[in-house]
Symmetry: D2
């Protein structure tokens, strides 16, 4: 097999229309100053003929790559036959198919009994619905979230998000949420689950009884911090003991990114509520889902709604994706193998420079010391046709979020680019100082 | 021309999968217990062969009807050629096309100078972005919204929404918003703009200086209440005088529903911020936009973001819709003619029963006295194949939100069904009692 | 009888200690730059031998004048005999005396059945207790207060206060309170009780169901605005109908200031909760009380407490005051006669200058057009030995809060000074400009 | 010297008036069902002739005992000569005397440069003023308080208080405050200052930049937890580094209770703001003070006010107390000696039963395992004429807050009663179970 390598262009497109008409809030367009027009599998193409290897995958929204042919064909067939595009929350064949497939391929094999709520098709909306429901069911207001957690940008979800710059955008104080230290936050000597238990058990701690504990098993935006299964089980027990609902925000870590469909599989606990979005549609279409135990389904009809809830195009591609990737264990095996390979490669790079790695499955990264170094690395990668981004409180983690369907050889070739860029950036940055 | 009439079925589909797996939060599926599988133009088809005339249009999300052939073809072509589906906020050909078309066909002819922010693809997200920006720019927290306003279901937008049942779902008190009486709220004798001016001018009124005044020109969910141009101009002046930004939420009333592309055209004021969603993509795809004066574009990169911002499929269909419908004045003329026809028909029905009508353009309805009567009417319509819904604080308004592209004769046929159902319901409900 | 006239000094005391050590938050000390050392009846004496007639009465805290001999003797006896000064909420003879006297002389004759809660000895604390209790009993969060209302400066009470400068001091947004227009706020043509009823009856008005409606019958700080008995009865009915508790904040208008012990007597409604402070101790000692219907007494022991609740010195003087002034109707008759005289005199002054008056009983004032004019008037009065202050959103009301025990002749002499100062200020201010 | 021992009565007074007219919120009156009528020095007398030794001291409000003859005489003289009782914030001889004495005897000898703000005469009001000022000066909203902290019951101060039952009384969610672990909260292995530093330094921790850090050096209500000087210095440094103001709430621990006038003396840091109340007047009169660095005095006149700010009776007794007790070091020496004695005695009691002690200076207690045991002990003490109370999250600490002026022999006699009651309670409670 011949490895297709990236062939980036240097052509910076005419940006006049963006300068004139698009808000300065745009961000990725700044570090990747190209105009893209086509994408398939792991490749993005710009309109000057350049080709880029995608190690960002829409922040884990494109786990199956761009325009996967099976999903694409399903969608084309659906549109061609005048399938319903928009149907509010009406029952449609597409919805029934999705629900039945999700039940058969995802829920039943894992012994999970959840109801599905089709929220507005954004992750933040799924989180808003989850915390609304938890507050309604428990009659409590306060939600416990964690340091470095990221849960969205609308006011309810933003209150749960740790990042100060994002929070600052609210323009009002963010209330009714307390951020507690995540697993390992205070170093190996401090058991942060124990800290939480202590405060919740103490009627004078100032921490109000929580409606929910909202947690990511791996903090995608927060720096690829990984919670151990033991810690998560402890958090699940603590939630139960104190009458709070456990919400796992699986928007970034779910849909195969960490190996299983859910990131919490085989860990010995079952969340009360789970949020999904990003790769759920499989093709990058807006789609989000909040799952919960049937006993918690205490919504009144329409109590949380939204014009685009239940995106039927997304039902179609999501169903196709479930059938293609989750009918047997092959895909998971591939992901695990690639995850292990990614781990080895990153560990080796980290070892070479005395750095450390983070993450789990196919969401892993290297802590390169600072956001400046990380930016130098990602810029160097981009110049060589590799799209790769950072995360963490200081953007100090270079993160690899390659499509899960990437061929091993291409993954390896992409990592070669990263390895070289890392070496170059660290030499330039630190090399002189070390003389 | 032969008028195609609705041919509904009575077959209630197997709901087991929904009962088992879909949250009880679903609402429209309850009053329209069919399973739909196909839709074109003004028609929805169920999977038993039934055909329904759509006077709901996805709550004004399908102004151009279902699967409009031109939009559909544009999308099929785009997908077939592996156009980018998901690109975060990267520049794409589809985005550039949209921006240039929007500038040329919408902004420039109307003398509007706005920047476009692609928020998460839901109306509520566009509203959250709008109020965040207003708070950031003004350094103030409080937003003035209006009685019966509806702006979305995430915490920031929900605080601006008037409906108590929706608000109750928050589970926390909703803060930093004051609801003031809308135009006409206190009857013809009370000038509610004057009430607002009085309170804002009084340093002891308890009404904090507002960051923004958020208003719909026609309150779609709130009961088709219409603000007069004079009142809106007054509100615009009040906002300016008191250092607040005027946000027009044009999510339901915009995109042609009231005649012009924006609902506030030719009224003699220019909003500082405008939100759009619903029919913006033209084909029912999730898409939302917040527009604002360039001077207000004070966002830091990424300060408000979201995985699905800038839905490229929607860029494609939106661009096609702008080109097809908004290149000249024919579409607007059609809408105005149909709006006038709708007005005449509804006025006649109202006159027959001593009722009153509400609304503007192609968003109009009849106040039928109570939610019970309204439900009886919409149920009778549905039985005859007409999909129609209610709005208002008590669901007491039967509202007609037909696709704007509906043929006059079909519109007329649909209104015949409504007329008959109205007569029947009012006779049954009140007739016996009157004997 | 010879009328004792004021004999002010011009000596400005050494302010070095204040400049050096007292916070700039002090206010009255600025407009009355003297150092006082002694006070009796209606007179304040400065330490240079000056004598000032007190038309401020500690903002209605000294309704019985300074150091009333009977109250003073009771306190001296109590202290001499080592009466308990501070006893937390322990039962003391002084407390029992107060409760029995209050029951016999105030509650029973008026047919009122209230429980007394001795809150921290400040008005703001009494208000905080009142709204806490209302929220606890109803399970609701929102409190309705009114434009121009003043209820205190701690965060819960401050949220109910209308004044923007005071509110701004909070440093955080003030939540869970909605300010509605007071009686007459929107002029004679607008029935503000009807506006409130409309919004509370409308489930889509955005006004959440209230825990309480908090109202002053006369707004002391807010500009001596008077609510009519009809309006207050309407508000009481509205509260009842909507499940809210009616709280009358009688801190300034109660204790005889408007004629009766409570300002709402004989108006045909009974508040659920009443707050008292200011003149309750009778001698200016810190003391506050929250009264409520027995069924509302749902506090847990200590759920609201405070070190100085139940000030025993104040129990003693308050009891003496109740016995001396409220055992029969003579005091009330005097107050009514003086109130009528005050009304006549102020009306005449207002008529002379085309101004209007405000207020009820012995809390009345003249609207002089602006805070600047009002300040000129009060300064001129002070120069002639009359202590008098302003109120209103713009400090535009010159208010007379003379001690209720003032001799008619002295009241008249004081009003002569006001009359002259008013004439002078209006001539100086407007006279020249008119040339 | 003959030791006067307590002589309690068993007579339960007629409680009908309280049942009928006093709110059930009363608490101390329940565990001490007597009616008191007189008090001097360390003794409280009931109206049946009983005499009780006061180890509660009004929760540290009576550090100089009841009706201290010098303070009492100063107050009698002041009242007799018609000294101003109530003067709002006008300058009075009494205020000037207090400020000059406080400057000369307290501030100057300690090298402290503070401005004094006379807030409403309650501790909670002093705290509200402190956090308002911190928010105003920093432009930030969030205040950091600590687990088990107690700061008052009005909404702003209550948000800083840790106790769940007290917080629950708010009826609204308490916002804009984060409770962090106090010194030692997580056991000896966890440096809680380090935890705080970590979170404040991390822009993704979810902990917003604080306006203030509000801390007690000894947590009086929270269980007599003591912060070490090292920890407090760390907290002071952390506040400074992160732009927050350090507020020491010295309401209970100040005024000599821990040895010095302020509880933080000789610790190597200077708070930005200090709150005082309780024993400040010396005689139990309502009085409170907020002190701050002159640069922080950014209040507008009247921006925080209150009817009873600057209680002149309290000025008089406070000044007398400062002169009598703080002109030289004798009083402090006495307090230290008694504190050491108290420590020895409590340590011995604790050692006998395998318990632990808490506290500093003359605010110390024993952790007796549970609130039930503690209640049994205090009840047994009361039966023998010793008034003593509990604190802590579970009321599990029996605390000794004897007047600081207590004779050593009487202190010893009181501790004998405690020792015996402790023995008895622990035998009864655990003895049988151990058989």
């Amino acid at each position: 097999m011949t490895i297709t390598l990236p062939e980036p262009t240097k052509a910076i497109p005419d940006r006049a229309i963006y300068e004139r008409r698009e808000s300065g809030v745009r961000s990725y367009a700044r570090s990747m100053p190209r105009q893209f027009n086509r994408a398939e599998h792991v490749w993005l193409h710009d309109n000057q003929g350049g080709r880029y290897l995608d190690f960002l995958s829409g922040c884990s929204t494109l786990n199956y790559g761009h325009n996967h042919p099976i999903l694409k064909q399903a969608l084309l067939d659906y549109i061609t036959s005048d399938g319903i595009a928009h149907g509010l929350d009406l029952h449609t064949d597409a919805k029934a198919d999705f629900l039945e497939t999700f039940e058969a391929l995802i829920l039943q094999p894992r012994g999970l009994d959840y109801r599905a709520m089709f929220t507005g098709p954004t992750g933040t909306n799924a989180v808003e619905a989850a915390i609304k429901l938890a507050r309604k069911v428990t009659g409590r207001e306060m939600v416990i979230a964690f340091t470095n957690g990221f849960h969205g940008m609308t006011l309810g979800a933003l209150a749960c998000t740790g990042n100060a710059a994002k929070r600052g955008g609210a323009g009002v104080p963010l209330s009714h949420v307390s951020h507690e230290p995540y697993d390992g936050y205070h170093g190996p000597g401090v058991d942060t689950a124990e800290l939480l238990e202590r405060r919740l058990s103490d009627p004078s701690s100032g921490l109000d009884a929580p409606a929910a504990i909202l947690v990511e098993t791996v903090q995608g935006e927060g720096g690829l911090n990984v919670a151990s299964p033991e810690w998560l089980r402890r958090i699940a027990e603590i939630a139960k003991r104190h009458g709070a609902l456990l919400i796992v925000d699986d928007i970034q870590a779910g849909c195969g990114r960490t190996g299983g469909f859910f990131s919490f599989e085989d860990m010995g606990f079952t969340p009360d509520i789970v949020t999904l979005a990003k790769s759920l549609s499989g093709m990058g279409l807006p789609f989000a889902l909040t799952l919960f135990r049937p006993e918690l389904d205490q919504w009144s009809p329409g109590e949380h709604n939204g014009t685009f809830r239940g995106n039927n195009h997304a039902f179609v591609t999501a169903t196709a994706a479930l059938r293609h990737f989750w009918s047997d264990g092959h895909f998971q095996e591939d992901v695990r193998r690639r995850g292990a390979m990614l781990e080895r490669r990153l560990d080796a790079m980290a070892a070479e420079h005395g750095l450390s790695t983070r993450g789990r499955g196919m969401m892993r990264g290297i802590h390169v010391g600072s956001g400046e170094v990380a930016e130098a690395i990602t810029r160097a990668c981009f110049a060589q046709g590799l799209i790769i981004e950072t995360s963490g409180a200081h953007d100090e983690i270079v993160k690899v979020l390659a499509p899960l369907v990437i061929d091993d050889a291409i993954l390896s070739a992409g990592l070669d680019i990263l390895e070289e860029s890392l070496r170059e950036a660290l030499t330039v940055t630190y090399g002189v100082a070390a003389e």
